[in-house]
Symmetry: C2
Subunit: 227 residues, 2 copies
């Protein structure tokens, strides 16, 4: 009986999985900590069955690691793992950008240009304070991913990889020291997509993500924000 709102899902298991995922991503359950079934079950007011099922799902998402007869632990963030994750993200989002440049409808291109204009305006108004776009519908990357039209790719990126990616964002200090640069890169990517230049869109997206991973790496080297 802990968390604020318990959005009612169809089953307890889904509900718990969702809550646990958020708790881990946002650091309420610290990295490397042990997941005690009995404890969490009592905490969330359910029996161990659904909770266990939720943990198995989290293992599939890569948020926890499980060992037989020992239990589950929250993953620990480190630079090597981050680089690995971002290498995969580079490959997959690059492909998404390529596909998007073939399939994105004109209206969505227009809407995305408007979105970038809004971001620009935000930066102008807020003294370059970087905008947070964590998974909302106004996240440029998510829009590109969805425009790829590849449902499997969408699922993998948005439901699996992004859980870990958000975790890295949450646990490291504000790494975007030059949000205008990121915005310029977004605009270049969108230009390529608008012109249906798949190769270029992929290239630019990969560079963009590669650069982000380097920035994140630097941020992690300086200080890993401990929960």
């Amino acid at each position: 009986m802990s968390n604020l709102v318990s959005v009612k899902f169809a089953t307890l298991s889904e509900d718990i999985a969702q809550q646990l995922s958020r708790a881990i991503v946002q650091g309420h359950i610290p990295q490397g900590s042990k997941i005690s079934e009995a404890e969490l079950a009592k905490q969330y007011g359910v029996s161990r069955g659904p909770l266990r099922e939720a943990i198995v799902k989290l293992e599939g998402l890569g948020l926890v690691t499980r060992t037989a007869n020992v239990g589950a632990r929250v993953i620990e963030l480190n630079i090597d793992d981050m680089l690995e994750t971002f290498a995969m993200r580079e490959a997959l989002e690059g492909m998404a950008a390529r596909l998007a440049s073939e399939k994105m409808p004109e209206e969505e291109v227009t809407r995305l240009y408007h979105l970038l204009d809004e971001h620009q305006a935000y930066l102008d108004a807020n003294h370059d304070e970087h905008y947070v776009q964590q998974g909302g519908n106004d996240d440029f990357h998510l829009r590109i991913i969805h425009a790829s039209g590849n449902t499997k790719l969408i699922r993998l990126l948005t439901e699996e990889l992004y859980a870990v990616i958000r975790m890295y964002r949450h646990h490291t200090a504000d790494q975007r020291r030059d949000p205008r640069q990121a915005l310029r890169e977004h605009r270049a990517i969108l230009d390529a997509i608008a012109n249906h230049e798949g190769d270029l869109a992929e290239l630019l997206m990969r560079r963009h993500i590669s650069r982000a991973s380097q920035l994140l790496k630097q941020a992690m080297e300086q200080c890993l924000v401990k929960p």
Copy 2:
């Protein structure tokens, strides 16, 4: 109490997940069929608990889809899904080839050349009958993937994506009509890796996989081998 050998895993859940996975990939449990918890539990001689856990894992692997209060169904293979899967595979294995060209040790390069020679000899001896390399240690692709050194990439490709990919291989007729062409492509990829030409290795791997998906598509259009 059905399957031939029940390799003893640490937990029943792992054991069942493994067996179910094989049964689905090999078509012993037909596509689109319903997974009845009670029935399978009796069949494998376990209670519904571990079996349920196994099903949740299979859902994570994308082998079954689950809907609340209704149950799990084996996925149904179709061309669109196949193309989606192979698009992801193209992106990820392309990245793997790129990384492998940076990290693969000389000895492994030599061993892989020998492996390709063996394949060549096999084709010469067996009248171009295509060699089956389903997930064994002599699978060229798996060796490249492992040489990438990216553990997350390895896990995703070998444990998740390849389950579905093997399923497509199993359920479609012999699609490789020109195994020598595939071998030539493998050799070209390995050449690029040996020369540490990451860009080229990635490009060639992507072309290779793209070509394979086109062949598979043609095979599926002609006849989907029903179980």
